[in-house]
């Protein structure tokens, strides 16, 4: 009995047997699976690299952005801009609807002097006088401090103790430490005085003898400043104006013999340090002021941690003479703005630049992106180049597939002849091998996808494992400030990596498939 037969074979684009056959080929031709492993590895690597790079750059964005505030208006004049409230009013007129937070501050280059074992350690820092009430509105600041209470509300008064509770190695700090240190120093000074008193009659060259005492006393250069203040000042119960130091300005991170990472602190909360910075007059003089370290700042960005020091805005204004004696109007050097989410940074910047044209005002108005542009661009370029290179690897894998497929087509010559003898069209035979390529592409990149995702998911465990096996640190905490490898998986990246890999597999199977389609049936049938 005739079962109904369609009129034309040509009209059937979808061939039943091709799927059956290519599934069977997939199950029986393991060589093809071997060739697809390169695609799998390529896809997995692409996914891992992209998510690590995305995680890294997002983390960097987040940190840079958090540290930098959306818009920064800097005045280059050493006296700064007077009347920040007036400026802010003008700014609100220009872009008031976008601004959700603002803070005025004084930035001044300064030299930090730390007395460490009788040596003076000097560091160049950016000294920032900030308004504790508003500074956290425009950028992340508090969260990078060590003391938990300071994290929620910055305070420039020294705390009793409890700094960095999550760090075992952090030395004891705060008032408790300060009192102990002062008591120790006093005892030492008394002892010294006693020795001096004993020696005084014996010799008159006291100056040479005082040499070793330098090791505990303040260095000579500090002697002349604020002499009368020191006499009244009792460091056991009083503090100088508070200062928060970037952690790398006063510490060094290195490895000990057991290869453990250790931080060495030159000073800690409770210690006094010295800041030297120019005052605001046109005829600038150096202000030399003692501060008491009340906390430390660790953002993870070494550029910030190694160059910043913070104190209270009003105090810095006072020290620098930025208060007009007659009108009591205060000046600042910097106004930072926080914009509403989704606001167009560049548009606001340009509007502000129009309001404060550079040829009239010595103001530099920048977005945080402008400031970090080169770094962000470098990371982006790196990602792009890595992607191109890895895709070339998958393309190389494509040639492997091509070769394997040619082999399979040759091996299947007789079957191709059989199929044609049974009425299969050239297109049908071609579709077998194209579908086969498609299927292999899916299997290979699917395995790569799963592998890559698993890898990304467990990347930190993998890193520790590699460390254990090789004894080499994969992620050196003295170099990177991340404690974990940051990763972000963008679905869009997954889609185009998969699509690219499948496309390469299909492209690689086109030539062998064409060859199969063009094969002469008789030659194929006679093929031994």
């Amino acid at each position: 009995m005739h079962t109904d037969v369609p009129q034309s074979i040509e009209s059937k684009e979808r061939y039943m047997y091709r799927w059956l056959l290519c599934f069977r080929y997939l199950r029986t031709r393991y060589i093809a699976l071997a060739s697809i492993i390169s695609v799998t590895l390529g896809v997995a690597t692409l996914i891992v690299v992209n998510s690590v790079m995305a995680g890294f750059s997002a983390e960097m964005h987040e940190r840079l952005h958090g540290l930098a505030s959306d818009i920064l208006i800097e005045c280059h004049a050493s006296g700064g801009m007077p009347d920040p409230e007036g400026h802010l009013k003008e700014i609100m007129k220009v872009c008031g609807e976008d601004v959700v937070g603002s803070s005025a501050s004084v930035h001044v280059p300064a030299m930090l002097g730390i007395d460490f074992n009788g040596q003076l350690i000097t560091r160049h820092v950016n000294f920032v006088g900030l308004d504790p009430a508003t500074y956290d509105d425009v950028s992340h600041f508090g969260r990078y401090l060590l003391h938990p209470k300071n994290q929620s509300q910055v305070n420039f008064d020294l705390r009793e103790d409890g700094f960095a509770p999550d760090r075992e190695q952090f030395p004891s700090s705060g008032w408790g430490y300060r009192r102990a240190r002062v008591a120790y120093e006093r005892a030492l000074a008394e002892e010294q005085a006693r020795i001096d008193a004993l020696r005084a009659p014996a010799s008159s060259i006291t100056n040479e003898d005082a040499g070793p005492s330098l090791a505990i006393g303040p260095p000579q250069i500090f002697e002349e400043s604020n002499k009368e203040e020191i006499t009244e000042f009792d460091p056991a119960v009083e503090q100088f104006p508070g200062i928060i130091l970037g952690i790398s300005t006063c510490s060094a991170r290195m490895r000990d013999e057991e290869n453990n990472v250790r931080d060495h602190y030159y000073c800690r909360p409770g210690d006094d340090v010295r800041m030297m910075f120019p005052n605001a007059s046109d005829n600038a003089k150096v202000v030399n002021q003692k501060f008491t370290v009340v906390d430390m700042y660790e953002s993870g960005m070494s550029e910030y941690d190694s160059t910043f020091a913070f104190c209270r805005l009003d105090q810095l204004q006072e020290f620098r003479g930025m208060i007009d004696p007659s009108s009591q109007v205060r000046s600042v050097t910097t106004i930072q703005l926080k914009l509403a989410a989704g606001a167009d940074l560049n548009a606001v910047r340009d509007a502000l630049r129009r309001r404060f044209p550079p040829n009239v005002y010595a103001y530099n108005i920048q977005t945080w992106r402008d400031m970090q542009g080169p770094l962000l661009a470098a990371v982006k370029l790196e990602t792009t180049i890595l992607n191109i290179l890895l895709f070339l690897i998958i393309a190389v894998a494509g040639f492997g597939i091509l070769a394997t497929f040619f082999m399979i087509v040759v091996e299947k010559t007789r079957d191709i002849g059989t199929l044609k003898a049974l009425g299969a069209s050239g297109g049908g035979v071609m579709s077998i091998f194209l579908s086969y390529g498609l299927l292999l592409g899916f299997v290979g990149s699917g395995a790569g996808l799963i592998g890559g995702l698993l890898f990304v998911d467990h990347i930190n465990e993998v890193a520790t494992l590699i460390e254990k096996i090789t004894g080499q640190e994969v992620f050196d905490p003295t170099v990177y400030y991340f404690t974990e490898i940051p990763t972000i998986i963008h679905p869009f990246t997954l889609v185009w990596v998969m699509a690219g890999a499948v496309a390469i597999a299909i492209f690689a199977s086109v030539l062998p498939a064409l060859r199969a389609a063009r094969m002469h049936p008789v030659k194929a049938l006679r093929f031994e």
């Binding site: 079962t3 074979i9 040509e10 061939y15 039943m16 007789r414 199929l419 049974l422 002469h520």
Partner: protein, 240 residues
Amino acid sequence: MNSDTVLRAQDVYKSYHKDRIEVPVLRGINFDVTTGLVTALVGRSGSGKSTLMHLLATLDQPDRGEIQFQGKRIDNASRSRRDRYRNHDIGIIFQFYHLLPELSAIENVLAPTMIGRSAWNFFRHRKEAKKRAEAMLDRVGLLHRASHKPAEMSGGEMQRAAIARALMTDPTLLLADEPTGNLDTETGLDILKLLTELNQDDGLTILMITHDDSIAESADCCHRMQDGQLQQGIPELLIA
């Protein structure tokens, strides 16, 4: 032209070219296959029997002359018409069975149906198709081996599966190229008996190429291929 003629070769020439040397194989073949008969084609090895069969199955093109199927030229028909001709109008069996090694016996039998139909059409009628494939396997006595792969079957079983596959689309004509050539005598006789039965019970038209004189003798009519031409006659006379 005789209305009983299902397949006709008319003045067919075919030669192969190898390194600019022409090897003439068929030189003016005129030949009819009559409906309902078993036609045997004998000849020495290399005389061009397989070549002729490939031309009749439109697997190759003659240099000259025509092949007619049911009175219409088939050798120069459209590609799709020739595909359908091979798929549906004729069934082919080979000396070396040519089963697809990745498929089981029943899948091999189903292959022509799968090839001839769209995925959707096949899917819709898969139960009927399967039933028919089982019937065909039963017909050749191989139902118990339906799920076996070719590599797990003997030569005779493979040839039976190949016959079942050729019968799957209910062809008008069965072309067989030395179907017993690779089998021992007894198994060959079994296959032959099967083919004879198919001819006698179902009226299947068979064109069979063979070396075996006894087979040729039992055929309804016999042709001998010699020097690229055919001599027709009563089997006994030709063989003698």
